[in-house]
């Protein structure tokens, strides 16, 4: 059986409706919300602040620390057990890796910048939504960044290359491949690419090309939200 029509009626290269906002958490140094479809991510940034344990301190540059967390009843399935898991640790790590290349922390020796990404509601593509929110929150906190980062998941559902998979597509019965991709805005340099599953080379290239276009439209949403936030002199 081939996948001819997407379950929510989108085109194969169409993103779910997006919404973004900065400055959503008052007590944080920077914060942002990013919503794509029914996946909602909140990111808050704290720092630079003193790093403990002290052996982790680096006198040459500051450290970026990410924490990804899916809230207990955020998914459609079972309750997520609170606390760190193998999965959340992995995603925290890749989020950090996706943001580090654009962030300049040389001005903050021995310090740490903490990012907390909370997923209130999930419908696949959580790490991508988290990265989008985290990039906005970092900029909101006034950190020096070479560029913005946008992220989207692309992949294969059945035999079709699709953009921004939702949970139903991820669990497609004839198999699917999910590839989260994060890219910088200006040079479209890839800062995150994860792939498990099998995808022919040609289709992978096609998927990455579509990811590039999708990241462009995500960037527009991020940019608009940030300008909006600053119009009110936040």
């Amino acid at each position: 059986m081939t996948y001819t029509k997407r379950n929510d009626g989108r085109r194969f290269d169409e993103l779910r409706p997006m919404e973004a906002k900065v400055g959503v958490i008052k007590r944080a140094d920077g914060s942002a919300m990013f919503k794509i479809g029914s996946t909602i991510a909140y990111a808050s940034v704290y720092g630079p602040r003193a790093l403990h344990p002290t052996f982790m301190r680096n006198p040459e540059h500051g450290l970026l620390r990410c924490n990804y967390n899916m809230m207990a009843f955020s998914g459609s399935g079972d309750r997520v057990r609170p606390g760190p898991s193998r999965r959340s640790k992995e995603i925290s790590q890749v989020t950090k890796n996706a943001l580090e290349p654009v962030l300049d922390l040389t001005n903050y020796p021995n310090m740490v910048v903490d990012i907390f990404v909370e997923l209130l509601q999930t419908d696949a593509g959580t790490r991508c939504a988290g990265i989008c929110a985290a990039a906005m929150a970092l900029a909101d906190a006034g950190f020096s960044m070479k560029d913005m980062v946008s992220a989207v998941s692309v992949g294969l559902v059945g035999d079709k290359v699709v953009v921004d998979l939702d949970k139903e597509e991820e669990d497609y019965e004839d198999g699917s491949v999910d590839i989260p991709v994060a890219m910088t805005h200006r040079h479209k340099k890839i800062t995150l690419l994860q792939l498990d599953g099998i995808i022919p080379e040609k289709q992978l290239q096609e998927a990455l090309k579509k990811a590039e276009e999708a990241c462009e439209s995500i960037h527009k949403v991020q940019r608009k939200a940030m300008l909006e936030g600053y119009k009110h002199g936040l």
């Binding site: 630079p48 003193a50 020796p109 020096s144 940019r223």
Partner: protein
């Protein structure tokens, strides 16, 4: 060629600000090939050939020459550690703290005790971000009584106003004594609660509307109305 943005535009990291070699990147921007790119979120300011981004948010970063308000958090053999609400603690050495002759091993709390608030000046910030403070200079002193207010450090210039016009106005109308630290800590002390409350209201209004024009007029109006 030339500028791609206007004065007072908001730029986000990665935005192209100018093309060609006619302009120079200053704080908040960098050059990538023949383009100048923003690397901070903030307002574009153009000064001649320089393009600068003035951030609207973010923590205070210590700079030599700044007047700050801090709290004594630790006392060493010959120095005081001051929390100036940056990530890094600042130090006042004995020599910069007092001009008295201090006997070796004497009790330093007689000058500044734990929890005391001080107005101090930053003399030096090292590469490793060690901040040195001094208490020697006009207006540098220990603060007694009063209350403190925390504001965004990016709004401090607006609270002070051009040549201190705004803060002088608030002082004149309310009769409060006010000290504003560049690190976003405001100390004030008035003769009664009412005048202190009015000063706080004015400062909070400035903070909320720092980006708007004609602010001085509105603050004046507020102070005038509540004077009696």
């Amino acid at each position: 060629m030339g500028l791609l943005v206007k004065e007072r535009d908001v730029a986000i990291p990665g935005d192209e600000l100018a093309e060609g070699m006619d302009n120079l990147p200053a704080q908040g921007s960098y050059r990538d090939g023949d383009k100048i790119i923003a690397n901070q979120l903030g307002v574009v300011t153009i000064q001649g050939r320089l393009i600068r981004i003035v951030p609207l948010r973010g923590r205070y970063e210590a700079k030599a020459g700044d007047l700050v308000i801090g709290k004594v958090v630790n006392i060493g053999f010959s120095s005081w550690s001051i929390d100036i609400s940056t990530a890094y603690d600042a130090q006042i050495s004995l020599k910069e703290g007092t001009s008295d002759y201090v006997e070796r091993g004497s009790d330093l709390t007689q000058y500044y005790d734990f929890g005391d608030l001080v107005v101090a000046k930053i003399t030096n910030v090292s590469t490793g971000k060690l901040v040195d403070l001094t208490m020697k200079g006009p207006g540098l002193r220990k603060l007694v009584g009063g209350r403190t207010l925390i504001v965004a450090s990016s709004k401090v210039p607006r609270i002070i106003g051009k040549q201190g016009s705004m803060i002088t106005m608030i002082k004149d109308y309310t009769g409060c004594r006010i000290s504003v630290g560049q690190n976003g800590i405001v100390w004030l002390s008035g003769s009664d609660n009412k005048s202190e409350a009015l000063a706080i209201e004015a400062i909070e209004l400035i903070q909320k509307e720092a980006h708007t024009e004609g602010l001085t007029e509105r603050i004046k109006e507020l102070l005038e109305k509540n004077k009696k």
